[in-house]
Symmetry: C2
Subunit: 100 residues, 2 copies
Amino acid sequence: MAPHANQPELTDDQLSRVAKALADPRRYEILKKLGTQPCATPCSHMRDAIDISPATLSHHMKELETAGLVRSEKDGKFVNYFLQHHILRAYLNRLKADLA
Amino acid sequence: MAPHANQPELTDDQLSRVAKALADPRRYEILKKLGTQPCATPCSHMRDAIDISPATLSHHMKELETAGLVRSEKDGKFVNYFLQHHILRAYLNRLKADLA
DNA sequence: TCGATATTTCGACAACCATCGAATTGATGT
DNA sequence: ACATCAATTCGATGGTTGTCGAAATATCGA
């Protein structure tokens, strides 16, 4: 039985994507910010805090989303993002199991 | 007080290096292999298991070492590597604290 | 000393990736 | 319909990095 039964295992592809996603300092900052908030209006809020162009931010959010680390929800003109804690936990568990 | 008192905190530079080191599939395999063994004669043993050129392996080992994830010890013609579990643990703790 | 083996360094190449300006799409309010 | 604002897509650029062959360095045994 896995350490947390109802948590999905990460595929090798996901493992790689998550690791790469975490390896970029700007994406790390974005995740950190998302972790502190209930996550409203990302692009606007992010850009206040992180100093990044709209194009670059959009690119990073897509990376984070394909890695499964965030989920997005459209709200009219805006897009709201949510940190996916369970994917993060699955990644930590995998690292612990494989290496620690 | 930090979660594990006698564990060194990671600098931002180290955090970035460790994350990048973990993000390459081949380096991940190397670490996994190191984790299972008491670590003798790396380059020889690694190359049996991983199919990699000497030059590339040397390059990756250096990356892992500057990240602090492994320590090396010369033994005559050979070099022995040791997984640095405490750095790995520090990284996991940092991720947990920042994001989870 | 010499030849063999282990590892590193060098140099080059290709692939990947972060970055951003400009153009585009999509939604809102007037 | 139109102007405005949020966000994405496109295209280009510069920097990073994984890869390996070849040469260099280091150690050992004969």
